[in-house]
Amino acid sequence: MERILSQMPEFFSAKNLVLLAQSAGLTLSMTLMGCLIGFGLALVLVYLRTTPGLWALPLRVTCIAYVEVFRRIPFLVVIYLVLFFIQTIATDVSLFTIAVISICIYAIAYTADIIRGGIDSVPYTQIEAAQAMNLSRLQTMYLCVLPQAWPVIVPPAIAFAVSFIKDTALVSQIGVFELTFRGKELNNQGYSGALVFGTIALCYFAMSFPLSMLGQHLEKRLATPRGKRNPR
């Protein structure tokens, strides 16, 4: 306890605070990038999954299998697989990129399910109306179906991304300078574990808690029908 108190002034030095802020920024940016790219690719995956016709059966099966398999593999194992796979095909890839790719692979599997749920919530008659008007499958999707599915898709997708901020702690293992890695480093420098990991936990909390509140607020707002949201 005395050790913690005596270390405090030194630990909370300007230099360390800047380092922590940078690491927190890295944690946030890789989560954001991974989840955004993952979400975009998940949209493509879900769209491919709806391809009609017998010739597209292998495509559909692959899409379903992807989601099922990657939800059942630990994120840590995915990180290692991506790391070593990429290192065997390319030498010049940064650890940050590897982390983003890993997050992306995981985010695809989880958000694809969310997106599919959203699309299924749009009545099929809307799709038929679009088809009867000769809109293409792609046009039907982005002009009619997705705009109506957003209120169902966005809140859980944000909740996923926010909860994934915490899971990115695992990429510390491959040496990305994010929050958890910085924590281990400071601990190795001799700072008290309670001080270091208490602070790191608070940093995660400071990112995760407000964002999850924001997500819940958005969910309530989106659940209100448009007619009531902005009366005209």
């Binding site: 697989l81 702690a169 574990g193 990991f197 936990a201």
Partner: protein, 225 residues
Amino acid sequence: MNYNFQFNVVWRNFDVLLEGAWLTLQLGVFAFTAGCLIGLVGAAIRSYGPAPLRWLVNIYVIFITNTPALIQIYFLYFALPEFGIRWSNEACVLIGLTLNAGAYLTMILRAGFLSVRQAEMEAGETMGMSLPQRIRYIVVPHIAKSIYPALANFFIVILVMGTSVGALIGVDELTGQAINLSTVNYRWLEYFTVAALMYVVLTFIASIGLALLGRWAFRVKARIF
């Protein structure tokens, strides 16, 4: 890509991976079961407890669910010895995972509690049942049915995401064994591919088992896929 996959070495050490998988399953089952007990108490307090206790449970849930499980385990492993508490790495993972699961399960079970109708509780009260009795005979059977799918899903999350964290403080569960074996002969891709497949198989077996259990015990259709 000029990489020669050599799975022979993996098969030679397959029993080590199997031991890891067995530990993974044990950790998962223990953390989930103990977490359920915490969650049950937590949810009961949040629903029916006195104000100060409710606040304590709320703080516990909010803090745990907004910080990484890894940091919670690191705290037990690296920080507690400073206060004279020394646990083995397995104990740290088990206790950390249990506390973590307890918070999430409090949220899940609380949702189940909310689905219990007040009228049923009052009916129990008029029959002279005490609060623990009412929880035992009215609340538990009721929520078991309404939240079983969420519980089954969370078990898979613990089994996969949760236990693998143990590898980072040297617990030899499946991921840990894959790391151990890989560092010996550098066949990372092979070991991790096989480990990944073992996780898929393990969770599929768990999913199917849980779906059958749910159908038999609570007549709910849990999602396998």
